[in-house]
């Protein structure tokens, strides 16, 4: 505990100090500590999430001032700047990359309300809305969807972007989206930063590109294969290629040198024929050409 932290603690009421102590003690028990955004998560759902994390990670929510104090006491000063808005503390012994993946995967769609800012482009998809003809078609058109009445119901004729990311949701749009059951938000624990064994990771670090790793595996395997074959190191998986390569080399030599070998003869005959035809293309005079090659 730093001198500074000690000085601060003196100013806290006892119940707050107890909460800070408890939090900081908890943080000390894990290898990785992170900050998660909780915006838009109803408290019931938050309870479920906390339960689902059990065994993987510990999620605690407290007042931001107390969370900051606990982070400082536990030596996680790097995380303090991320404690902003509705956030909680998460602690785990899990691989932070795996934790990020898990949290992202657990995010669920949620409706968006009037006055909220769209986190991404909001699209009303092409198709039958299932709504009977009525004033709703006008409401759809009003928010910018290409809608009309067809076959006894209201149809959206094409994917229609009705709001761009960063723009505010209007009352009308919120109503339309609600009517259609469109849930444009992704709600869940939003990992903002993690310190794992002393190293700070932000979401960009944690968002691993699995495809890139897959491609690295392919590259690594291909390189090893190239090396094994080029260095003529036989393994079960490369020896067929080595054999084929040796065969090809012998064949190439045999054809180049026109070696009289039974196996090579069909190809040598084919080669001679190909050469003859190649030469024939250079001959302009029909009369000089064999009948087979005259036009």
């Amino acid at each position: 505990m730093s001198a500074q932290a000690e000085r601060k603690t003196e100013n806290l009421p006892q119940w707050k100090q107890e909460e800070v102590d408890e939090l900081s003690e908890l943080l000390g028990e894990y290898e990785s500590v992170g900050i998660v955004g909780l915006t838009g998560i109803p408290s019931k759902q938050l309870q479920d999430m906390r339960r689902d994390l059990h065994g993987t990670a510990e999620l605690r929510v407290s007042r931001n001032t107390l969370q900051i104090r606990a982070l400082e006491e536990a030596g996680y000063e790097d995380l303090v700047s991320h404690v902003e808005g509705h956030v909680g503390l998460i602690a785990t012994n899990d691989n932070p990359f795996a934790l990020y993946k898990e949290l992202e995967a657990s995010k669920t769609p949620a409706p968006i309300n009037e006055g909220e800012v769209a986190p991404n482009d909001i699209v009303i998809p092409e198709g039958d809305t299932g709504v009977d003809p009525g004033p709703f078609v006008g409401e759809l058109q009003g928010v910018g969807a290409n809608a009309r009445i067809e076959d006894g119901s209201i149809q959206v004729m094409e994917d229609s972007t009705v709001l761009e990311a960063g723009e505010e949701v209007s009352v009308d749009l919120a109503n339309v989206l609600n009517e259609l059951g469109i849930e444009p938000k992704e709600v869940g624990l939003d990992l903002r930063a993690v310190v794992a064994e002393g190293v700070l990771f932000d979401p960009e670090d944690l968002d691993i590109d699995v495809e890139a790793y897959r491609s690295d595996v392919e590259t690594a395997a291909a390189r090893a294969r190239n090396l094994a074959i080029n260095a003529e190191f036989p393994t079960e998986s490369t020896v067929p290629t080595l054999v084929a390569k040796a065969t090809g080399e012998a064949k190439s030599l045999g054809l180049q040198a026109a070696i009289e070998d039974e196996e090579l003869m069909p190809d040598l005959v084919t080669k001679a024929d190909a050469q003859l035809r190649a030469l024939a293309t250079q001959i302009d005079d029909e009369e000089a050409l064999p009948e087979e090659l005259q036009d």
């Binding site: 932070p96 990359f97 993946k101 590259t219 690594a220 291909a222």
Partner: protein, 67 residues
């Protein structure tokens, strides 16, 4: 690529591709291991079918040149 090679050895030997094993292999090779790279690799490979990726690499040998 040394981290990926290490994972491929473990894959062939049948050992689990986890942080400890990767670190051991890389250590033995004199690599100055970065823990965060090991962690990221372990997490990423969880979603990669290594055997499939390897056999695809063999099927398209020319692609290897790109590596």
């Amino acid at each position: 690529m040394e981290y990926v090679y290490a994972a491929l050895i473990l894959n062939e030997s049948g050992e689990e591709i986890n942080e400890d094993n990767l670190t051991d292999v890389l250590d033995a090779a004199g690599v100055d291991v970065e823990e965060s790279r090991v962690k990221a690799l372990v997490a990423a490979l969880e979603d990669v079918d290594i055997d499939e990726a390897v056999s695809e690499a063999a099927a398209a040998p020319a692609a290897a040149a790109g590596g």
